[in-house]
């Protein structure tokens, strides 16, 4: 089966004067099939959000996708014109952001914003557009959707606002949804409600999802595949169960072990030494993680390639082979 999305060697750079550029995304490759959920995991500054923006063609100037391919259903998004991208965005690829208050226009009624999104891509009558907007609200579990169409964003709670943002993303039944930390600002109970809506979507409509997050626990219960990013690169990628049970890369391992669990009570958590350096201070050559890695040797001064096949791989010269205790 041909994958829905095939990202190959994606590089996104932000110029910093002269001929130099900061590589926020550095040779990132992954594949995604229809109905699949990919967890794109990393800490602040790892490049996970910029990867999402690059696929959407939303990288702010002067930053740009400087090399690589983003094959979406066979077409390379990196070479599309502005108009072509505009007709894809919202229709076939949609994005849900962390803060729904920022995505919704505070002075327009929800119904207006939703029908606007429908009219952007399709010629339908206003009454038909309204019916579709209402159905989309109902689908994400908003009670009495007909009346809520006339409400303003501030009249909704945080969880309800995020549902509205998801409903807007669903209007055109996109093939791919990029969700950038969609539940980070929400309470656990509301978070569970939102995740269950996404689970229904992937099962019933075959929508593919890239779930961008720093929270390994959410990804472990939701995703089919995982890609862990550090310093702009995917350091490990693979099937979710395999990676969580036996992570090869020292960073993946450190990340999993630093999350408090029911077995960690009363003990010290495993620490990754140091802090994530800013992109400008990342080691210029070799493995970006080597300054914090306990296994680093002189061999790590050379840039590690992808070890494994094109789906399941890691970038480490000294990988762990044993299972995580």
């Amino acid at each position: 089966m041909k994958p829905l999305l095939d990202v190959r060697g994606l590089v996104t750079e932000f110029p910093i004067g002269g001929n130099q550029g900061l590589r926020a995304v550095d040779e990132v490759s992954f594949k995604l099939n229809r109905g699949e959920v990919l967890g794109l995991v990393g800490e602040s500054g790892s490049g996970k959000s910029v990867t999402g923006f690059s696929i959407m063609g939303l990288v702010d100037k002067p930053g740009k996708v400087s090399s690589g391919q983003i094959l979406f259903d066979g077409e390379d998004l990196a070479t599309q014109s502005y108009e072509q991208m505009r007709s894809l965005r919202g229709r076939r690829i949609a994005m849900v952001f962390q803060d729904p208050m920022m995505t919704l226009n505070p002075v327009l009624r929800i119904g207006t914003q939703m029908t606007e999104a429908i009219h952007a891509h399709e010629k339908v009558s206003p009454s038909q557009a309204r019916i579709r907007a209402r159905d989309a609200l109902g689908m994400v579990g908003i009670p009495s959707p007909e009346e809520r169409l006339d409400a303003y964003p501030h009249e909704f709670s945080g969880g309800m606002r995020q549902r509205v943002a998801i409903a807007i993303a669903l209007l055109h039944r996109p093939d791919l949804i990029i969700a950038d930390e969609p539940t980070t600002a929400l309470d656990v109970t509301i978070q569970a409600q939102i995740i269950s809506e996404f689970q229904k979507l992937t099962e019933e409509q075959g929508t593919a999802v890239i779930w961008i997050t720093h929270d390994l626990a959410i990804v472990s219960g939701l995703a089919d595949r995982i890609a862990v990013m550090y310093g702009g690169r995917i350091v490990e990628s693979g099937d979710i169960t395999t990676v969580l049970e036996a992570p090869h890369h020292p960073y993946t391992r450190g990340l999993i072990r630093s999350v408090p669990s029911e077995n960690s009570r009363g003990t010290r958590l495993a620490q990754i030494p140091g802090v994530t350096p800013s992109l400008a201070r990342m080691p210029a050559e070799g493995c970006t993680f080597r300054t914090r890695c306990e296994r680093a040797t002189d061999a790590c001064r050379v840039r590690p390639g992808q070890f494994g096949n094109e789906l399941d791989y890691h970038r480490c010269f000294h990988p762990f082979e044993e299972k995580l205790a």
Partner: protein, 340 residues
């Protein structure tokens, strides 16, 4: 970790008795007259806390959990004495805090310090780290020798490199700022720290470092913590006891193992079912229906009854009492009466 067992006759570090806290505008004289004449409605009042009882023993870590808007931060602020209750009383080491004055009041104030959620907002951007950490102890005359040495000592305790103390807060990362906040709180030698979502804004790997620091400090300095958080995983990791809040009330209180193994209140059960854990294999996310009602107009009876799958007629009218259902395990739910 075993529960610290203080002598029976020792008074707890902090005892909160029947504390309520309301927020709302005070109507002026004209509005009061029109309210009295029935021409205007009284201004809305937020019932942030509703007759809360809570005991914090010396040396323990009490985790305080709940959804946003349940009043956990208000309770934390009252415990740290930066907010006064509308009614009820707070006992500090056995004495009513509202009766304290002079030196005793100052000592009680200094002994309870708070560490806030946003480490940048809590630091004055124009003061360097040295000034930030030394200001309070200098004013209170706690620095006997050299000021620089005093600051260095506390920065080191918090794992912050003293060589960088001349820099300003914006020059540091979130994790380092969190350490500065901790050093500043420690610099007045408190017994009790209220941590209000202190690790929520940090990345996972930095969060682990700060949680370890909290545990080290507890052992070194014999501290007591009230750890306010919405993150159940973090609370489970660090706490000895846990109190669960829902809409201004504490609904359940128990030792940490007990509450995670045998949650009693339907709200606790639903909340714990939602803790995301790293566990390979897909799971179905099923959530409690509905959302937290508004604290301006809380439902009568048990606050949780509109979302509770077991609610009966009694739950809609009568406020459930807090009962000891197992040793040290308290829960406020009518269902426990029927079971008995």
């Amino acid at each position: 970790m075993s529960l610290p067992n203080p002598p029976q006759n020792e008074s707890p570090l902090l005892e909160i008795r029947k504390v309520s806290r309301h927020f709302g505008s005070k109507p002026d004289i004209a509005t009061r007259i029109s309210i009295a004449l029935g021409a205007a409605k009284p201004p809305p009042v937020v019932h942030a806390l509703d007759a809360v009882d809570l005991v914090i023993r010396r040396g323990e870590v009490l985790g305080l959990v709940g959804e946003s808007g349940c009043g956990k931060s208000t309770l934390g602020r009252i415990a740290a004495n930066i907010l006064q209750p509308s009614s009820g009383s707070v006992f500090w080491k056995g004495t009513d805090r509202s009766k304290l004055n002079g030196r005793a009041l100052r000592d009680a104030d200094l002994a309870a310090q708070m560490i806030f959620q946003n480490p940048m907002a809590a630091l004055n951007p124009r003061m360097n780290i040295e000034t930030l950490v030394s200001e309070a102890p200098a004013i209170h005359g706690m620095i006997k020798g050299s000021r620089a040495a005093y600051v260095d000592e506390y920065l080191q305790k918090a794992g912050f490199d003293p060589d960088m103390k001349r820099r300003l807060p914006h020059q540091f990362s979130g994790g380092q700022r969190a350490r500065v906040n901790i050093a500043r709180a420690l610099a007045v030698r408190p017994d009790f720290l209220v941590c209000d979502e202190s690790v929520a804004a940090l990345d996972v790997s930095i969060q682990a470092q700060i949680l370890n620091l909290f545990m080290d400090l507890r052992e070194q300095l014999d501290l007591t913590y009230l750890f306010v958080s919405h993150d159940l995983g973090v609370v489970e990791h660090i706490s000895d006891r846990v109190a669960i809040m829902y809409l201004g009330r504490v609904v359940e209180e128990a030792p940490v193992e007990e509450v995670f193994a045998k949650p009693n209140h339907p709200y606790t059960q639903a909340l714990l079912a939602e803790v995301p854990r790293i566990r390979p294999g897909k799971r179905k996310f099923e959530a409690i229906k509905g959302e937290l009602p508004s604290p301006i107009n809380p439902p009568p009876g048990c606050h949780f009854h509109p979302r509770c799958p077991f609610a009966t007629e009694r739950c809609r009218t009568e406020i459930p009492k807090r009962k000891e259902i197992a040793p040290h395990h308290y829960s406020a739910c009518h269902l426990n009466d029927e079971a008995a």
